[in-house]
Subunit: 268 residues, 2 copies
């Protein structure tokens, strides 16, 4: 049996979106400690340039490394497009692109895959490149959805206005008969009901949290990561780079039924 | 006759919204040079804390002062709420709150004034405080509209979806019978057609650009500012803190018929 490792898993995002990934990981690995960093002072990343996104992501990774985490999950598609590395200073790093692309190919019968994302994620063509690398015959149709993040932040999920906007963005993908759709931004699972209402049950939805949890599970089994077997109650700490009552309120709503043990503001 | 002052007027915002103010000033003062700074790397300010907004605003002001401007216009309502000063290192500073509040009171017959803004601007209660200071009998009804900025950035002005969202946000203000409505974010004039469709012609709309132009005009006449009488063709330079093709495209659309002479990326 491998040694216990009680160090937390570090998870970061520009804001609240990554909490959908944290929730999934916390449910899947109930014995693990987590340290979440939301770079709320500089959000959103989705409209920023590749250089700036790379710089901010490196600062987040360095910060988490100093907090003594055992792995780093980049719970932000936009940041993931700018960090191809799978390791930093000996720490495993997980981006959401590779697991999402792989999962979409597992689910797609027709190899016609849609990708939704922020403007930066779509411009990067990261999903398209990864899917084509794994299966050159696959066809990828993408769509930037700049209004999804503010709709999710506003809490207008399952709302008629949101359904209308989802319909507008998804129409070109539906016309191209995609059978699988990657929710390529960690905010988007918050709008999953509205998306599912438009896509119907014949289109498979791929969610970053579910996809990345499978990769961590594999690495726990293969010994790249070691489980926390200390037996102590696990802790989930949430750090942000800006003060915001709104963040705390929305965070509780997204994480449910997972409970955060503490919120703190930090300077990077 | 007062001396000529060919130094540019500095104008800053977190992003593209302030361009609506720049356009108004450029049309009103066709002989003046302008230097616009859009802090696009750190936008939006509207969801950030007062401390962070104050810090970023000070950095923008210091940067513009070093560029040898003759005055600074804070073309961002959110930033204006955190900079009460009317002077910095001898330079006149103009925020958009005071002119907007004064203009609303000039236009309102019933003294029932609505204020639309970002979450940060509405939380600051800056308009309410200023209006009540000028006229304690006035009644103010406010509404945060977090989706307006992304709708404006997406270019969905005069769009059925935008009309629907405007209707949703404005309903409580209309029920309170406001007769004047402050567009308390410099992005909002981009959505003016949609707003006017919901308010009808009986409600007066107050726009930051128009309101602040009147204040500059007064200060030119009273000698606090000196006009550029050099006779040379004026220059409008636009600086941003991040690279963005989208910014340049939207900027041209907003500024029309005003033409920018150059775009450049700077580090603050």
């Amino acid at each position: 049996m491998s040694a216990s490792d009680s160090r937390p898993i570090g998870v970061f995002d520009s804001g609240i979106g990554g909490l959908t990934v944290l929730k999934e990981l916390a449910l899947q690995f109930p014995e693990e400690n987590f340290l979440y960093l939301g770079d709320t002072a500089r959000l959103p990343y989705g409209s920023k340039s590749p250089q700036t996104i790379r710089k901010y992501s490196e600062q987040n990774i360095q910060f988490l490394e100093k907090q003594n985490v055992k792995a780093i999950v980049i719970a932000c598609n936009t940041a993931s497009t700018q960090v191809p590395e799978h390791e930093f200073a000996g720490l495993p790093i997980y981006n959401v692109i590779d697991p999402g692309a792989q999962r979409a190919l597992e689910l797609s019968a027709e190899r016609r895959i849609g990708v939704l994302g922020t403007r930066a994620t779509i411009n990067s063509q990261a999903y398209t490149a990864k899917i084509k690398e794994l299966d050159p015959k696959a066809e990828v149709f993408d769509q930037a959805c700049p209004l999804f993040v503010p709709l999710a932040e506003e809490g207008w999920d399952s709302d008629p206005v949101t359904n209308l906007i989802v319909y507008r963005y998804l129409t070109p993908l539906l016309q191209n008969h995609v059978d699988t759709l990657i929710l390529g931004c960690t905010h988007y699972p918050i709008l999953k009901n509205s998306v599912a209402r438009v896509t119907g049950s014949s289109i498979e939805l791929v969610d970053s949290g579910e996809a990345i949890a499978k990769w961590l599970d594999k690495d726990f089994k293969q010994g790249r990561l070691h489980k926390n077997t200390s037996g102590e109650t696990r802790q989930i700490q949430i750090l942000t780079t800006d003060h915001s009552a709104h963040f705390t309120e929305v965070a509780h709503r997204i994480l449910k039924p997972v409970k955060a043990d503490g919120f703190k503001v930090v300077d990077l």
